[in-house]
Symmetry: C2
Subunit: 247 residues, 2 copies
């Protein structure tokens, strides 16, 4: 039990997905029903399980219901780089191409099969969902570029701040947490592999942020004590996740 952010088993498990998709495009009742119907075909994974192999083709797209996953790549000597995270409400395996990186569960993970969604969209039956999925892809691309800026041009201090702000925004959209607090079930090792730092330095940087009165972080919950100040120190600009104005 992680307390107020735990997965309340069976309690509207599709909510994060619905909230996230609706933030990307308006959905019809039929579309909402389709999404809610996905709840049937669930899949469970343990931490470390590989959902999609590098080079493999995703059998089926999925939405995350609970838990976190990531896309990563390993080097011959064991170094790891995490490219992106998938939190509840977010999709994975939607790319039709061969996977360019492995997708792995970071925590206990629950997903639903999203095949009916892409099939419906391909038939042209669900314009709202089509726009939502397109916006989802754009958002993912944007997050990748943000990640590159973090790694290439931000200091450790800025990187962590920037990353926490991104997560706050993403999770709030899914209805997890609020403007200040959100669940963060990631170890410092995972943060290190994402942010291009050593575990030790991630730890020290977190201490620094704590001492500066900018964040709190304990037992899987992050609290941004001064979100605006945090945004200022790392030149954070919220990634456009708003409904697409594209035709």
């Amino acid at each position: 039990m992680t307390g107020r952010f735990s997965t309340h088993l069976g309690v509207r498990p599709m909510d994060p997905i619905v909230r996230r998709l609706r933030s990307l495009a308006p959905l019809s009742d039929a579309e909402l029903e389709l999404i809610r119907g996905l709840a049937e075909r669930r899949e469970r994974y343990a931490p470390g399980d590989q959902l999609i192999a590098e080079g493999g083709v995703s059998q089926r797209p999925r939405f995350v219901i609970s838990g976190w996953a990531c896309r990563n790549r390993l080097m011959a000597d064991g170094r790891r780089q995490i490219f992106s995270f998938m939190a509840p409400g977010e999709g994975l395996g939607f790319g039709r191409r061969p996977a360019l990186a492995a997708t792995v569960a970071l925590t206990a993970l629950e997903t639903v099969d999203a095949t009916p969604v892409i099939e419906g969209v391909r038939r042209g039956a669900f314009p709202g969902l089509a726009r939502a999925l397109a916006a989802m892809e754009t958002t993912e691309d944007a997050l990748l570029l943000d990640h590159i800026v973090r790694l290439g041009r931000l200091t450790a201090f800025e990187r962590v701040a920037h990353f926490l702000l991104e997560l706050q925004q993403r999770l709030e959209v899914a209805g997890l947490g609020d403007k200040q607090r959100f669940p963060l079930p990631l170890t410092q090792e995972i943060l290190a592999d994402a942010l291009g730092l050593s575990i030790v330095h991630v730890n020290r940087t977190l201490q620094q942020l704590r001492r500066a009165g900018l964040i709190e972080l304990r037992s899987g919950v992050a609290i941004l004590l001064q979100p605006e100040a945090l945004a200022k120190v790392c030149d954070y600009r919220a990634t456009a996740v708003s409904p697409t104005k594209a035709a």
Copy 2:
């Protein structure tokens, strides 16, 4: 004049594009003719010119005939991060979404308008080109992930080595240079902004690679003296740019 790698004005200017596309998918005679016909609508840019603004929508897709461009983003305090490069034969502005980063000319740049290509592909008229463009996108995605690994998990020495190997491969496909030498008209400042390093450190790292007998680099030409040794020091694995086996 940069010598043996200069643009021989008017001499088969579409060759890099044709070679690159054919490396991605087999093309019919009609498709080849369509590409060659693009040579009419050329555009010229000076170093620093912005081809696509961040947030703007690409008016038209283009192929680079000669010169180099990049996608980048600027921070409020002037720090710059380069996400990717576009060398002769490569495409830019093919994404239909609003641009997530600005596209800028790094050298004198010559492009052709590729609108007829996407229009033809959309009509379903050119299956070979359709596959080539899809493979092009996949390749670009793969290069972005490689870039993230470079920035997050490679040392400066490894980053430069890795980057040079990537460029060699890309340029060879376009018929520019061979297994060892290729044109590299980028300043050390540009390399620094791509590789997440300072100019000074890029310079020192290049000296290190030279002293190690791994590379030569002068007046816009790079020579990989020991490509295999270079690949070994940075765990380089060639990005799959081979014809897609996808249906």
